[in-house]
Subunit: 411 residues, 2 copies
Amino acid sequence: MDKTKTPPLNPEKRRHKAALTAASENRVDYKKELEAAARNMILIHDPEVLIRMTADTIVDKLKVRHVSVLLGEKDGYVLSLSRGRKQPKLPVGMARVDKENPIIVFFKRFNDKIIFKRRAVLYSQAKALLKSGVIKDKLRSILEHLLYQMEIFGASACVPSYIREDLLGVLMLGSKEDNSDFADEEVDFFIALASHMAMAIRNAQLFKNLEEELERKKQLFIRTTIALAAAIEAKDHYTHGHTTRVTNISMQIARQLGESEFPGINDRFIENLEFASLLHDIGKIGIPEYILNKQGPLNDEERRMIRKHPSIGVGIIKSIKELERAVEGVRYHHERYDGLGYPDGLKGNDIPLIASIISVADSYDAMTTDRPYRHRLSKNDAFAEIRELSGSQFDPRVTRAFFELYQQNRI
Amino acid sequence: MDKTKTPPLNPEKRRHKAALTAASENRVDYKKELEAAARNMILIHDPEVLIRMTADTIVDKLKVRHVSVLLGEKDGYVLSLSRGRKQPKLPVGMARVDKENPIIVFFKRFNDKIIFKRRAVLYSQAKALLKSGVIKDKLRSILEHLLYQMEIFGASACVPSYIREDLLGVLMLGSKEDNSDFADEEVDFFIALASHMAMAIRNAQLFKNLEEELERKKQLFIRTTIALAAAIEAKDHYTHGHTTRVTNISMQIARQLGESEFPGINDRFIENLEFASLLHDIGKIGIPEYILNKQGPLNDEERRMIRKHPSIGVGIIKSIKELERAVEGVRYHHERYDGLGYPDGLKGNDIPLIASIISVADSYDAMTTDRPYRHRLSKNDAFAEIRELSGSQFDPRVTRAFFELYQQNRI
């Protein structure tokens, strides 16, 4: 269109032009804002952050007084966020609307672009439409109810957010700070932004599902290993629950070491430690039952047999790639700091940390449960004994972390 | 700016305006195309598809003769895609450029927006710049080499795709079909599109990492269960490798049933079947070793004991939420179709399909391996025996699928 020959504007167009001019004075480059939003949203996998970003963009860039978001949940829509300088007096998370609420009904069933060109409802535009009398019957009633709801939420505009045909949520926008009407360009921006938000939230949901499935698979491994360890323990009448307790104590010690930024303690180490702790006695599956069940003291040959359990355990798991960093914990959890342990007689810092941690946890649990050859020690006596053996049987770095836990009443 | 008082265009601006007009005649709404691309890209988690989409958008919407994409890999950049009506004569996947290639060097080190306003290189613009003599020394040499590379690839424009400061890849665009220069608006579009592509590819990579981690955790469970089953099998001298073979056969039968769209066979069923097959004999951990190891025939009491293994297995896994659908396979894998099996004497279709499948796989493997009481059957004899027992011991629906596998030489 040749700008030199613009026809006189009708009142509707004049209002839009005023709004446009106001917007351009604020120097909002909608295209740039949209692009930036789309780019930023894609790597954010938290729906709450995505909604907050969307609302902040609207409040900050378009000087809208407030933005609330109704977000779809299982049984209805919940007010998930309220943002802006002047907010409606509705507590977030408390306000719920059910699926029969006129806002939801309108955007689910009646928003077929015939009524409003842009799939968004502007309060003033809808009010004018009702006044004109062209809207009749059921639709008129729905629209009247919708406007009443918008009054409750103090909304000048409702912008739906769809994923394909599913209504993910509705953005409810307050009036602009300069009290101007929303320009077409602004409504287009809201619609596009709401659409980007919807896609980003769906992406985030897919991510969350995958993360949950990952956690389920990890739990499957952990619980099955515990169950099998328990079945093996069932043959060794004195060790019921031993594997679970050793695993818990090991993890606590590692986290305590991590808090003082001990070198090498990270999420991967802690996971390997967890796996190694779960499997540390798995080799007992290869020890004859009569030895595990024997009530009296073991003779030399029997002791020699039972000392094979770390190596048998390694034999069982060594070909499992995902456990390659856990193997050392299984192999060396009966080594001693002074080199008098088994199977290899490793000494001091030659013993991998993963094994030194399991060694303390394993010994503490053995001391505090009844065994064929002696009654259990009290918690305090067991701690005293471990302190006594620090530097001979146990790695002092590990016993230090263990005592910190004890002093803080965390074990 | 007041459009009524436009000053006369200089030649550079006139060229741009011509290109702009050409574009607007083709009615390309860049904003809309970008939005659509950003929206579509976010839920695509396959880098190849994302690159193809980007190239197709450029070829289709902007009538560019061809688009190639150099994509960063470990040791360099590979020509990952070549698209368009007239492609350069370079086979995709074959052309590699190393990190010292002038295209890569330029976009990694020299593209600081000082040389070209828009982080993209237009051949004609760069050529003019060199001619003008303002570019000197090392940069001149780099730019000359860059233009030579663009000639090899037949590229009129190179558009970099960054993730933050990392160069993910470079889009190489051929000339436009109408031979017009690229307008600023078009270059902006390429840059924005390349940026969206980069973010979508990063998102896809995060997805892929998560999926791989999920597969690793599943394998951890599977391999550990197999290793522990093998340790249990070690006590039962005749069943070495039994668990792995039964699991493989069960899965094949289920997939065969799935091919004929048997009701209830889906990915979830097959996963539960896999878990149940892996664990079907886990209850043997609770059977005294002397019974598992006995060379001669079992007496009634011993047989009664060994028949407890399904129930013991259930006892071990029943509290594991992730295995709740697998429990039935463990519990009922010794039931018979005629109701004469154990532990509950279930009959016909009352036996869960998951158990009926394991029953056939378990029996076939038992028949084809040596056992204390008899030598193994040949494959053909075992199939004949299972056919004979179809409808009495075995569910005919399962044996049918099993025979289809046999006839197709797949077992």
